[in-house]
């Protein structure tokens, strides 16, 4: 078959049935302010880690909610918990606790793997 250099782009739909929303639920139950996020990106703008490397808490929060955990699992460890994002958040989301709970959830996910 002739190769023209085109590929089929990966599917971009969010499949809530297939995605594991365990982490999102874990965080939501323990830190209710997680629901308040409006994805404004203030946290990412002020981030100490984001200053050095590609790390955006806004992006990670969105992915956690969708249940697309693979990218979050490695990236969430990069956070230094310095707490600037909590201070700038206009909605009062306790972001430090969100990150800590996400790390906890991933540890437990490994322990009780389905």
């Amino acid at each position: 078959m002739e190769k023209f250099g085109f590929t089929i782009s990966r599917g971009r739909q969010i499949d809530y049935d297939a995605n594991n929303r365990f982490v999102a639920e874990y965080i939501r139950d323990r830190e209710p302010s997680f629901r308040l996020c409006i994805e404004c990106g203030c946290c990412s703008a002020t981030c100490t880690t984001g200053n050095f490397t590609r790390f955006s808490l806004r992006e990670l929060q969105i992915l956690i909610r969708r249940g697309e955990n693979d990218q979050v699992r490695e990236n969430i460890k990069k956070c230094m918990l310095c707490g600037k994002c909590t201070l700038v958040c206009p909605r009062g989301v306790n972001t430090r606790n969100v990150v800590t709970l996400a790390r906890e959830a991933f540890q437990k996910e490994v322990k009780y793997a389905v």
Binding site: T48, F52, K77, M80, L81, G83, K84, G92, N94
Partner: protein, 633 residues
């Protein structure tokens, strides 16, 4: 031979508790690290022995610290501890002098009246029984306060008192029964034989007038013995374990043993030394501002003693250290909490009651040291050589006016310095440490240490008390770490910067990490006094409040945080100052939105008062004259 069956419960209890105390002390001693063992031996046979005895007398018996802070509560503790001690001491002397023989078994002193009912009629004997009655009255007055406290804690000046578990209640009832039953038993015996002094004698004659005193006395002697025995048997399982443990703790502490980050025997000793007096509950801002009443240090230590899962309690704390300062036993509460945070969730909850008497060494959670590095993506460390380094810290970058003020001051001083994290640096590691993630924090510490080493600096100035604390405590650096208030004070003393006097009233809020955390109280105030009029507040120095923004607590909601900030600011601005000064960017950030008073960091105030040195400006343009400031100091 004077003996009666009713002394058996008391004897069992007494010999059990004596043997138990010795066995437990030996176990604790064996669990100490080698160097701590040597320290304790040296302390025990050395100079600090006298000091320890003095401290035991003043703190364990007289309860001087509680008396100072709260007289009624102190009196309650003193009358029970010191009164009981004197009662035992003089009871033994009485039995020795007036008894049938010298060197009696302990029960003969305790139940002296039963075996010598005729004692105390004339002369020295009467004087002695008067003294014993006085002691009993002293204890009973304290006991009355304790009973009132259980039902209304405000009566003894405490807003909240500790909640008890069932076993504590049984032991408490036994303790409460001891002295009234002694009173009634002695009174009835005295009434039957017409002896006794002002208390037992008069009560005895009243009771004997309408009751068969000689028959009724015997059951009350039984009750007295049983309540003593029960109390002694339950003591190791309840908070009353603090009575023997505190003695051991005082010796260990005076020998120079510290908690540090060891979860070993010394920590366990401190955990058992807590008497749940409740002073930490009243000191806690989460209690009196935010209404969270189940996480205070007394409950943390109780949870550890009972082998409960304390991770939730351990994390819900501002780590402000107010309870550390107030604790009458001097337990290092914040370090113990840090250890609990690091240990994570408890795995094992002990249910077996017999095992509780000799708890196994709490399974030490190994601190992760292996595994993939998390912060390997941090850029290579490159540093320029310099003498003085300025490290702003994350929070200072969030409040750029502090950073700019510091740059202005450092420029004006003419010192050669380098701004280490001008473009934003890595975090100092303390926030991770406060979250109990020690391994990750160590990585950041190593990274920053390399940066500082490579610069060859001898002084490191930081604007953030959080960074300041960890730089001093957990970094192994060969540099002098200074908070910017300390550095500014040094600059003023060296005459490197000239400041004018701002005609303002300023109230100073001492940040937790700088004040109680690192013991820096005087320098910030000295700097402020140099440039303005410093107002006193009712929360100065060790008693200062937490702003509520603390990185120590991840669990409280933003509403409660702002409630804390509101309450703290209201207290601090009671004197209507023109400005509220602080030395911490986080405190500034937390206070600014909740008050109409201007909140400023000391660096900003100093930068405002700065008189730009004329030398630098005048040399290029000679005819340029700056206006003379109102007053130069």
């Amino acid at each position: 031979m004077q003996f009666d069956l009713f002394v058996i419960p008391f004897n069992i209890g007494l010999y059990f508790i004596l043997i138990y105390a010795v066995a437990r002390s030996v176990l604790w001693f064996m669990d100490l690290s080698r160097s701590d063992k040597l320290r304790l031996q040296r302390g025990f046979f050395g100079r600090s022995f006298g000091q320890s005895l003095k401290e035991i007398f003043l703190e364990s018996l007289i309860h001087r610290k509680i008396l100072k802070s709260n007289f009624r509560l102190g009196y309650m503790h003193m009358s029970l501890a010191f009164g009981w001690f004197l009662l035992i001491l003089f009871g033994t002397i009485e039995a020795d002098v007036f008894g049938e023989s010298h060197l009696n078994a302990p029960y003969k002193a305790i139940f002296f009246k039963f075996f010598n009912p005729d004692h105390g009629r004339y002369g020295l004997e009467a004087l002695f029984s008067f003294w014993m009655d006085l002691l009993l009255a002293f204890i009973l007055s304290g006991l009355l306060l304790a009973v009132i406290k259980r039902f209304s804690s405000r009566a003894v000046g405490l807003k909240k008192t500790t909640r008890l578990k069932p076993l504590d209640k049984v032991a408490l009832t036994a303790l409460w029964l001891i002295f009234p039953s002694r009173l009634i038993a002695e009174s009835l015996t005295s009434g039957a034989y017409e002896t006794g002094s002002f208390l037992t004698g008069s009560l005895g004659s009243v009771l004997a007038s309408f009751l068969p005193a000689s028959q009724l006395a015997y059951p009350f002697w039984w009750l007295y013995s049983i309540s003593l025995g029960t109390f002694f048997l339950l003591l190791p399982l309840t908070r009353y374990m603090h009575i023997p443990t505190e003695l051991f703790l005082i010796f260990a502490r005076n020998s120079g043993i510290k908690t540090g980050d060891q979860s070993g025997a010394f920590r366990e000793m401190q955990v058992y030394s807590c008497s749940s007096c409740g002073i930490c509950i009243d000191a806690c801002q989460l209690n009196f501002s935010a209404g969270i009443t189940n996480i205070q240090s007394a409950y943390l230590l109780k949870g550890i003693r009972n082998y409960e899962d304390v991770s939730e309690i351990a994390h819900n704390c501002l780590m402000c250290g107010r309870c550390d300062v107030k604790c009458p036993v001097g337990i290092e509460l914040t370090p113990i909490r840090m250890i609990s945070r690091r240990n994570g969730h408890a795995i094992h909850v002990e249910k077996n009651i017999i095992k509780k008497y000799f708890p196994e060494r709490q399974q030490q959670v190994q601190i992760k040291t292996k595994g993939q590095p998390v912060f390997s993506w941090l850029p290579e460390t490159v540093s320029e050589k310099t003498d003085v380094l300025y490290f702003a810290g994350c929070m200072t970058h969030l409040t750029p006016s502090i950073k700019n003020s510091m740059v202005k001051i450092l420029d004006a001083s003419g010192m050669s310095y380098k701004f280490l994290d001008k473009e934003g640096g890595a975090c100092c590691g303390r926030p991770l440490m406060l979250a109990g993630q020690d391994k990750e924090a160590r990585e950041l510490i190593n990274y920053n240490s390399q940066l500082i080493w490579k610069s060859g600096a001898h002084t490191l100035v930081t604007s953030c008390p959080i960074c300041y604390k960890i730089f001093r405590e957990s970094y192994y650096l060969d540099v002098e770490v200074l908070h910017h208030t300390q550095y500014i004070k040094m600059l003023i003393e060296e005459n490197s910067i000239k400041l004018r006097f701002l005609r303002k009233n300023i109230a100073y809020h001492a940040p937790c990490e700088l004040g109680r955390g690192s013991g820096v109280y005087d320098e910030p105030k000295a700097v402020l006094q140099h440039v303005a009029r410093l107002q006193k507040t009712s929360f100065d120095d060790e008693n200062s409040l937490c702003c509520g923004g603390s990185l120590g607590n991840m669990k409280i909601s933003s509403q409660k945080k702002s409630k804390l900030a509101h309450d703290a600011v209201r207290e601090l601005t009671k004197g209507n100052p023109d400005m509220l000064a602080t030395a911490c960017p986080l405190c500034k950030k937390t206070f600014s939105p909740v008050t109409a008073t201007k909140v400023a960091d000391i660096a900003e105030i100093v930068a405002e008062a700065l008189v730009v040195p004329p030398v630098k400006r005048i040399i290029p343009q000679m005819n340029y004259r700056i206006n003379e400031p109102a007053r130069i100091i």
